[in-house]
């Protein structure tokens, strides 16, 4: 076991973590602010990947196609999410968790099948964007440039999102709305619109994650399933509703997964879920949760 191997594994873990962070941030924002558990979040991640595929294929083989897809796909996913929110979820905010789960579970099933209906059963992929197609050399090892980009991009996106929520006026409306929706309504702000935007934002993050993982892993109709479970672990460890928690949780899950592959590959999942159980038992609100 040499230092180089450990380093690349760490980098791998952070890359994995980056994807989890993007998806989990979306999930935790929605839970923290709207108090809704969205079991369809994983399938929206898949939808983002497929939207990206669609955009990239429509534009065709050109150096800009991936970038266009990476911008358009999250927006499309967000719009789709907004539609779901308005038609279905709006009335679910005060319902029991089991009904939220059944509803979003049903939506997830329908979405997965619609993906197959539109795009068929074969998986889809697009080539790496030419600017990022390469590896950096670390001694014996290689590490794809694309994954470095992914890490940086995620960091920038999270920073941007955090800034927007903490520092802008619209962000403060969002924060206020989650603390006291009635008061915000009284101030003349359409709280329903705020909630729709929040949901679209959360879902858009998942779509972004899907689009970004498309060149790396391709798109398959069932790709949302495994990500969904891991994201539950992530936000539980980090703290339900906590933005920084999602970041921390995602990195932890990614790194544990990656480092366990060095030592005991099959033990990766056991460790992750054991960690999840442990966090809930010891500090249910999560590492970054309040109290």
């Amino acid at each position: 076991m040499n230092a180089g191997l450990i380093l690349v594994q760490l980098l791998n873990g952070i890359t994995l973590g980056a994807i989890y962070v993007l998806v989990a941030v979306g999930l935790t924002i929605v839970f923290g602010m709207l108090n809704i558990i969205n079991f369809a979040h994983g399938s929206l991640y898949a939808l983002g990947a497929y939207f990206a595929f669609m955009v990239a294929t429509v534009i065709g083989e050109s150096s800009g196609s991936f970038w266009a897809a990476a911008v358009v796909a999250p927006v499309l996913t967000g719009i789709f999410g907004a539609i779901i929110e308005i038609t279905l979820l709006r009335r679910m905010y005060h319902e029991l968790h089991e009904y939220q789960i059944l509803l979003t579970f049903g939506v997830a099933m329908v979405l997965q099948e619609i993906i197959i209906l539109i795009w068929g059963t074969y998986g889809k992929s697009i080539p790496m964007p030419s600017q990022l197609d390469g590896v950096i050399h670390l001694g014996l090892f290689t590490f794809p440039t694309y994954r470095i980009f992914l890490i940086l991009f995620t960091a920038v996106t999270c920073l941007g999102l955090w800034l927007m929520i903490e520092k802008t006026k619209y962000g403060s409306i969002i924060r206020a709305g989650t603390e006291n929706r009635n008061m915000v309504s009284c101030l003349g702000i359409d709280i329903n619109k705020v909630f729709t935007v929040i949901f679209a934002l959360g879902v858009g993050m998942a779509g972004l994650a899907g689009a970004l993982s498309l060149p790396m892993r391709g798109a398959q109709s069932a790709m949302g399933d495994s990500i969904m479970l891991l994201c539950f672990v992530t936000i539980t460890i980090g703290g339900l509703g906590s933005f920084t928690g999602a970041i921390l949780g995602g990195l932890i899950v990614g790194i544990v997964e990656s480092m366990m592959a060095l030592v005991w590959p099959q033990g990766g999942m056991i460790s992750i879920f054991a960690a999840m159980a442990l966090v809930i038992l010891v500090k249910p609100t999560g590492l970054m949760g309040l109290k």
Binding site: L5, N12, L16, T142, M216, R217, E257
Partner: protein, 399 residues
């Protein structure tokens, strides 16, 4: 207390109405053939079997042994519990006795158990050696080469092609099929003096293979062998492409689905990678050419491995029935032993002692994009052949 009666009677009505539409199956003079596939999820394969079914029924005029064919396709959901129960259901309530097997070894072994109990012919190409090895029975037939044959036809040619490559690394899915491949690979490594520098087990559905590449690179492997299947192989090779692994070591995927996997992997990542496959559309056997032409006339694209597999297996069942001139599965089983014909992979014959089929397995190499003459010309054939265990080597003791 009058609570129960009325509305539970309403429920009874609902149940009756639903089952009215299904109706009992009348005992007609027909042959019920069945196939199973996964309709959704990660290992979906329903479109292929449906196309194969249509092709097969078309070329037979919907009949075998002068009786109309009732063809049922069930969703095994990729789960042994579902596949086994539905096969038993078809056998018992519809009298189906001819089954085309699933893609998954886990489902296949469970279904084989049911086939034995219900005396139903089962033809499968899933990899687990036990199917025609320690768990063989007279109703089980295998078309595709087993794990043993796949390893022999891919690893040995590469050993001979690259005599300097002594350090081999394996990546294995942690279930019965993966173990079969790994055990066979280890035997070959021992026999040819190859240094097996490392192995990684991964659960099925693994999405991240980067760690394994890193370990292979740390072990200074000359060849990295992927012993996984389907989506896992696609992900492995794609990611290997991202990591530029093909520049550091030779890559071999022992068990692929041919065009289907190549399309998903993409030409960039597939270039130079060695791939084993049960079927390739671009080889010069009369059986292959005839089949590919007929398929292409109907569907405008060449057939993929799963489609070829289904068609061939359906044909085997039909041939067996007509040779036996009977629907009795004991008779059909006897008739199929020793059967010879020009199959979709060349000359094909069925061994009597363990019901394995002698057919060709192909070692391919991914072509660079600029060399592809058409979108499906994704690989060139490196070698092909057949390797089956002899009776002495086999664990099959059939009665």
């Amino acid at each position: 207390m009058k609570t129960g009666g009325s509305f539970l009677l309403a429920l009874l009505l609902i149940v009756l109405v639903i089952s009215f539409f299904a109706g009992p199956s009348a005992a007609q003079e027909k042959v019920t053939m069945a196939g199973m596939a996964t309709f959704g999820g990660a290992y979906v394969g329903v479109d292929e079997i449906n196309r194969a079914k249509d092709f097969f029924l078309n070329e037979r005029g919907g009949k075998v042994f002068n009786k109309p064919i009732e063809f049922i396709i069930i969703d095994d959901e990729g789960k042994p519990a579902v596949g086994a129960r539905k096969v038993r259901e078809l056998a018992e309530s519809k009298g189906a006795r001819f089954f085309d097997g699933p893609a998954s070894s886990a489902v296949g072994m469970a279904v084989s158990q049911v086939a034995k109990e219900t005396k139903s012919i089962l033809i499968g190409s899933f990899g687990a050696d036990d199917f025609t090895g320690s768990q063989c029975h007279r109703y089980a037939f295998r078309w595709g080469l087993s794990a043993y044959g796949a390893i022999q036809q891919t690893i040995i040619p590469l050993i001979k092609k690259f005599p300097a490559a002594k350090r081999w690394y394996t990546i294995t899915p942690d279930y019965i099929f993966g173990h079969s491949l790994l055990n066979n690979a280890k035997e070959v490594f021992n026999k040819y003096g190859i240094e097996h520098v490392g192995n990684d087990m991964h659960p099925i559905g693994q999405t991240e293979y980067s760690s394994f590449f890193n370990k292979a690179m740390a072990a200074k492997a000359d060849v990295v062998v992927f012993l996984n299947f389907g989506k896992d192989t696609v992900n492995s090779i794609k990611q290997a492409g991202n990591f530029g692994l093909a520049k550091k070591a030779k890559l071999l995927a022992v068990w692929t689905q041919g065009t289907q996997d190549l399309v998903e992997i993409g030409p960039e990542a597939a270039e130079g990678v060695y791939l084993g496959c049960q079927f390739w559309h671009n080889v010069d056997f009369p059986g292959t050419r005839a089949f590919v032409k007929a398929w292409q006339d109907k569907y405008n694209v060449p057939p993929s491995y799963p489609e070829a597999m289904h068609v061939e297996q359906f044909r085997m069942m039909a041939m067996g029935i007509e040779k036996a001139k009977s629907l009795n599965t004991d008779a059909v089983s006897k008739a199929m032993e020793g059967m010879k014909w020009d199959g979709v992979t060349g000359e094909t014959s069925i061994q009597s002692f363990n019901h394995e089929t002698r057919k060709n397995y192909f070692l391919l190499q991914g072509k660079p994009k600029k060399e592809m003459k058409d979108p499906h010309d994704m690989a060139s054939v490196v070698s092909f052949g057949s390797s089956l265990k002899t009776q002495a080597e086999s664990a099959c003791k059939m009665q």
